[in-house]
Symmetry: C2
DNA sequence: CTTAAACGTTGCCCTAAGTCAACGTTTTTA
DNA sequence: TAAAAACGTTGACTTAGGGCAACGTTTAAG
């Protein structure tokens, strides 16, 4: 059941007993398609590891349009991180966009592991570093590119995205209208 | 000389002896206006604390246009972080855009402090968390906003930026042409 | 299984923002 | 301190991409 998490931790060269300890803090949670895990005004109290399915972080602007920030597929961690860190209302949604199996840890236990297991602290640091690098690439990658280039860039750098995710959600991630994304896809 | 760094560390409630230790790893470096600290193909080996002046991270795209990613003013840390982390060529520039006084620590010493002083590890984690949150806000903040709204958003969330930085650099940060930024400023 | 709602695609039109050029001002360099 | 280069602003023109609507298809709900 926790196989993918164990695999993930093994890939970080963590010894078996510590892996057992870490896993013992996670609980399995099954979700429906489109189930909301963190609501707009909620303060985020959990970190999620995707065993199966897919998570999305998004918000809705004043005109009612969605803006997607991140998709977490199998084998990745995801949560409404700014809220998780600062314990302020999320001002965004965390959603399972497919029927999913998630491994969930509470914030309390997460920080307990961060402080008590140096290797777990290193994993968290790595998550933050990767998240940061990823966000920077997205800023660089998107700034000054036209719509077609953004789509090509995403196919190259995040190939799962356009395959797993609806046209509408992908468009809201790419910062273009669904019509434009549709037109760009037909061009290549 | 290191007063602003000491103040910064004191604000994180670090005890005096550790502050002394931390400071002992930093060296003062004075730069000219527009001096490049990390070149495009260089691997970044230092972390910088801005005592006086201002740092900028930017890149240049294939059409020769600049794209600025981050500005660090007095009291902030800054470096070409993705390169610093991964030790790959930066593919971006780190530049002092004013005559500056910087406190510099080598990557080796930086990670030594991260691993040996838990409070310093926490500071690094905080830098990453803030950087991450900042990047997310920028993605949300800019996506779906028109040029005028981007400028207002930046005045609200990063008021120093438009005051300290040239029109051209600010435009390259905001992802719009200098002409457009100029026009937007005249509207408000 | 049937009906309704949401989605994806495409055509037409429109607007926000980019490009280019001109001109005055500031900064840099010799 | 004089000449050159870079910058900021503004106007005229162009264009990428958004809005809207139509239509067929897929998904959800009863």
């Amino acid at each position: 059941m926790y196989k993918s998490l164990v695999l993930f931790l093994e890939s970080k060269n963590i010894e078996e007993t510590k892996i057992k300890t870490i896993c013992s803090f996670f609980k399995l949670k099954k979700t429906n398609r489109n189930q909301i895990l963190v609501d707009y005004n909620e303060v985020c109290q959990h970190y999620y590891f995707v065993n199966k399915g897919c998570l999305r972080i998004f918000t809705i602007n004043k005109e009612g349009l969605e803006n997607s920030r991140y998709f977490a597929f199998e084998g990745n961690f995801g949560t409404a991180l700014p809220s998780f860190i600062d314990q302020k209302p999320a001002l965004e949604y965390l959603q399972a966009i497919e029927k999913s199996e998630l491994l969930v840890i509470t914030r309390h236990d997460f920080y307990f592991l961060v402080h008590s297991i140096p290797e777990f602290s290193a994993i968290y640091r790595e998550i933050l570093e990767l998240g940061f690098i990823n966000a920077q690439q997205r800023i660089y990658g998107f700034q000054g590119l036209d719509a077609l280039e953004k789509v090509s860039w995403t196919i190259k750098n995040n190939p799962k995205l356009l395959l797993r995710v609806s046209n509408k959600m992908a468009a809201s991630y790419l910062g273009m209208s669904p019509s434009t994304l549709s037109r760009m896809k037909s061009k290549l």
